[in-house]
Amino acid sequence: MFWTVTQTLLSGLLTTFEIFAFTLLFALPLGLVIAFGSMSKFKPLKWLIHTIVWIIRGTPLMLQLLIIFYGPGMIGWHVWSGNETGRITATVVAFTINYACYFSVIFRGGIEGVPAGQREAGEVLGMTKGQIFRKITLVQMIKRIVPPMSNEIITLVKDTSLARTIAAYELTFTGYSFMKSAGLVWPLFYTGIFYLLFVGILTLIFNYVERRLSYFK
């Protein structure tokens, strides 16, 4: 039984990992775009972005997931196929929008946190804007955002369990399913081990990145 449960949970973990990986893949660049939009000199764009970020950060992720999944169908637009792929895709879309907004705030902090004097020092040395970004500010920005980003990314691992609300067969859902089918509670607790290991590996990666960037202050 233990082996059967483990195998089922591993397949759930795979879905969890898919949601996690695709959300990161799309939310990181989108977050950067939103960050630049939120710093735009064009006021209407700036206000629009700030309003969107306020709405996304101001409502529960679970609610956003339900709206993304059921909303289109209610107006007769059936974008999500009823199968597992459709559910995972809807989850990734909802998560990407949500996480991109959180990331954008972190990115903005990272960009604005690099002192203006760094850019000016590059300018007076005749560097181009591109050179200043690539050679001077980028690494400093990355160093600044690693700690807050690691927080968000670890939260993302655990937020994937919300996909259960639209019946995507991720880790928590697979664990929960044994309760309904076989009256077993321990598989649900067992999922905790998987989350811990997942987050443990991420923590090691973040520690490595922080160490690699610790040679300067």
Partner: protein
């Protein structure tokens, strides 16, 4: 002929006028010190020369070439702006060293990036980089930092950091080297080593503009003094005239505040 001619510079931030009709010139190989209280426009003037601020009026000429003319609504193309900037070097009050690079890398970074634009860069990359590194090492040695080349900024004292910043500004061999209160962010015991280096540059007739609060130093090193107050040049001339025998009431008041300490 003067190496630098600044005429009728005006600058305002919103409705606040920061520089009003500022004109002066500078001879090649001479040192100019700009003194005045905080908020008098000294730093803004330096920033205008380095194109970190755009003046609202006036002209800036270096070696007879007009680098800036407010009456021409020129499009500021990045490539042109970069070439113009290279006439000036800038040493900031807060050093602004790049923290992720060693002292030597700080000094050589800009030169290496510029070298990439040379037609022979691809074929002679190693020789070019070697030459740039040697140049950087020489400059740091000249600043008394031969032992500190591979240190990162956070491993250096404030005085050492500012000397790296001076070497970095010298690396591109600017026509005019600008210092924006180079010792104001330093502990008193560290100002001496930086002032000594600047004095050394003056002895070798480096053309310099130094914004400073160190009156004794200004009198010693500068060939010419400008006293600014409230965005205008109140008085200018040789140090013995401006500092020792000021004519204007505002200069006298300012200097008396300083000598009282």
């Amino acid at each position: 002929m003067a190496i630098l001619e600044v005429n009728n510079i005006e600058k305002h931030f919103g409705s606040t006028s920061v520089l009003k009709d500022v004109s002066f010139s500078l001879e090649e190989g001479s040192a100019l010190a700009i003194i005045g209280s905080s908020g008098s426009g000294k730093t803004t003037l330096l920033r205008c020369l380095n194109f970190l601020e755009t003046p609202n009026g006036g002209t800036i000429k270096v070696k007879g070439e007009t680098l800036f003319d407010a009456s021409l609504k020129q499009k500021r193309k990045e490539s042109e702006l970069r070439t113009k900037r290279l006439h000036f070097g800038m040493v900031f009050q807060s050093f602004n060293l790049f923290p992720q690079y060693t002292a030597l890398e700080n000094v050589t970074l800009a030169e290496k990036l510029l070298a990439k634009e040379r037609p022979d860069f691809k074929t002679a990359k190693k020789e070019i980089y070697d030459k740039i590194n040697r140049h950087g090492e020489e400059l740091l040695a000249q600043m008394g930092l031969a032992e500190r080349m591979d240190h990162y900024p956070h491993q250096l004292s404030g005085g050492q950091q500012q000397r790296v910043a001076i070497a970095r500004a010298l690396a591109l061999e600017p026509d005019i080297l600008c210092f924006d209160e180079p010792t104001s962010a330093l502990d008193p015991e560290l100002t001496g080593e930086v002032l000594k280096v600047i004095r050394g540059l003056a002895d070798r007739h480096t053309t310099m503009i130094i914004v400073t609060h160190e009156m004794a130093f200004a009198r010693d090193v500068a060939d010419h003094i400008i006293f600014m107050d409230d965005g205008v040049i109140v008085e200018q001339g040789a140090p013995r005239d401006v500092i020792d025998n000021p004519k204007e009431e505002r200069t006298k008041q300012f200097l008396s505040r300083y000598t009282q300490g």
